[in-house]
Symmetry: C2
Subunit: 444 residues, 2 copies
Amino acid sequence: MSSPLEFLRFIDENADRFIQRLGQAVAIPSISGDGTHRQDVFKMGSWLEDQLKSLGVETKQVDLGKHTMDDQELPLPPAILGRIGHDPKKTTILVYGHYDVQPASKSDGWDTEPFELVVDSETGRLIGRGSTDDKGPIMGWLNVLEAHKALGLSLPVNMRFCFEGMEESGSEGLDDLITSEAAKGKKGWFDGVDCVCIVVNLSQSDNYWLNTRTPCLTYGLRGIKYFKVTVSGPARDLHSGAFGRMVHEPMTDLVLLMSKLVAPDGTILIPGVDDMVPGPSSEETAIYDALDYSVQDVVDAVGAPITLSEDKTTLIMGRMRFPSLSLHGIEGGVRETQHEEQARFGESARRKPWIADYKHWNYEAAKKATEAVYKKSPDLTREGGSIPVTLTFAESLGVNVLLLPMGRGDDGAHSTNEKLDRSNFIEGSKLLGTYLYAVAAATE
Amino acid sequence: MSSPLEFLRFIDENADRFIQRLGQAVAIPSISGDGTHRQDVFKMGSWLEDQLKSLGVETKQVDLGKHTMDDQELPLPPAILGRIGHDPKKTTILVYGHYDVQPASKSDGWDTEPFELVVDSETGRLIGRGSTDDKGPIMGWLNVLEAHKALGLSLPVNMRFCFEGMEESGSEGLDDLITSEAAKGKKGWFDGVDCVCIVVNLSQSDNYWLNTRTPCLTYGLRGIKYFKVTVSGPARDLHSGAFGRMVHEPMTDLVLLMSKLVAPDGTILIPGVDDMVPGPSSEETAIYDALDYSVQDVVDAVGAPITLSEDKTTLIMGRMRFPSLSLHGIEGGVRETQHEEQARFGESARRKPWIADYKHWNYEAAKKATEAVYKKSPDLTREGGSIPVTLTFAESLGVNVLLLPMGRGDDGAHSTNEKLDRSNFIEGSKLLGTYLYAVAAATE
């Protein structure tokens, strides 16, 4: 079940060098959402491909075509596919990650240059854009590959890789690539994949550890839908002194409509929505009971005593399993180009929920690997939001998908001073390697 | 009751010259809300004082002190007081007006230079900033004075004047001046004032004719109060994926709170507010029935069929006599410097309602003068909003106050392409003179 001691020792002994490699990756400002950095995203893709090649991975850059951003037509960064190991007796796992990052500049409030990895020897923090999202996790896999190559060890599983460079900008082109590659069967790069492991923090979810103490495995995401309600009325701005109590006011109607959507205690008032999720089984409740999380953790995280419940399990179920409805804002006095006579209820974005079988050997292997490395049972969590690629892999390959976070709850992906703790990077690299051995053992 | 024919003829014969004088007034950009134009406001005050003096009015500039605007200490424009006529057998009327204007620049969307009066010979419009608010009405009084001086006619009443230069910027200093001047009794400039006549369009009210057809007299204003509701919660912005349905969300509470204030049909849901105004007497209802106004006028004005009633009288009572409550907007994600634990309900501005006795000889005189000049009975109206000086005069002098609009409902004071129709300026000047004779006749 455990990985070879020489592997663990190699990771420890080469930690500083691994951090230097992370620094090289962070130094390439591969911001996918800023057209002026598009060439940096390409540079980062090539850098990553070179790293994989040098570690014995067969690779392929897949051109995903062009897209339009800020009125400019741009080439999409390529997907980097990779494969190593073709032993039909071994289990095959597919790893996903992304090599692009969110924008960052010192003027946003960073304490250090965002694209220079700073190693804070006092706190053990590795600070820089992409450190936790998602260059650190990708480097974790490179560390595992390098250790095996250097030690002359054969990997315990066959590995397949799928890295993209547009995750922070909607993953354009990726779904088509995955489904077409999956449809190729034996001729495709995902042939024989038995399970998927995703080590990322992706936007619209906060897939880290729940806190700074206990590792976790994530097996569900609530999904997300955005709706926009438009109520129109007069053809021009009106003076409340002259027209108040003469005409229907869109703001009054809109506020009343919105007040019927969700109650202050979080109950969703739209008939049927709360009923879509059946109550938890006692087994599921036990998972929430066991989480390393308290009401005080929530109070500390939000900075005010405003939790909807004083009961930890009820509270965490609000986050992990029940639908939630947030009112994001109201904009008044907006003039549409065309006058509309009635309310319109429009859905502007939608991501499906996802849930995986946490008793699958993929999860069992990750649990055992976590226990071996961290001497702790991982929290078994679900999260809000969505990670679309999770569902695409699950549906197109028909295999179990595991979310195995490397970072902590306070890493601040997408934020200023993004960091990954040195211990999470190094122990996390051990965890990834150990997980491969645990998968091999579980599927013998 | 009617004014001398030679007066009416003089106004007609000198119309072009009167329009030229209006042009001179419009050409001084006396924008009180822009510190860089403060000297122009002073210039306008002196110009006006010179005009009054040349027409035989005794004047006084009253220094109102200093104030701070945009972090700059500025001298307040003076009030210009004036008096002409001291015949104890004559009635004394006090006239109010303001010589400052709203900002305007061609880049705001004006079709012409705002500070050059344009005479559109096709439509009869006199276009320029201040044309209707409030330089046109002030010039109307100058026209009346000039006609009497030129014709060697004695004014039928004693006249007192109070002109300010800060109306568009909150009338700073004016209330104190009026109350202290009133308190001086026989030693003050308002000694012996029997009634007040205000010919203005003031902000927060739209005191014009109800339409473009029928003159009106205004005898009431609803007053106004602004409230701001603040609901605070978490100490920082939260991700709905991570905290949705875990914590109380201020936006949910705020929307629910606001939905309890006013119903879509305009009914105010706050207990007691609608009850503060008793139902109309049959006499008052008859006034609304008689107004030259239709449901279609409202539909045309707002550009959509969104009236709260199909009954004209119900509709106009919503505007003129009942309280109205408008929800102006909701701002989310605002960070206060200090964290607040609970909802706060704050009143940010308040103006009292005002109502005058429309059976007073002051109103009767205005009604008869209107009928004489326009061959039409005026609409008897109340309006939303507030004109604070109205109440100050009524309370400090204890006399009847009349609002006698000169402009039409489409003049666009405070807006681009502000105009006063030539016929409103010229017939309006006749109306003001005729009103003086009607006052004299009514109080003989």
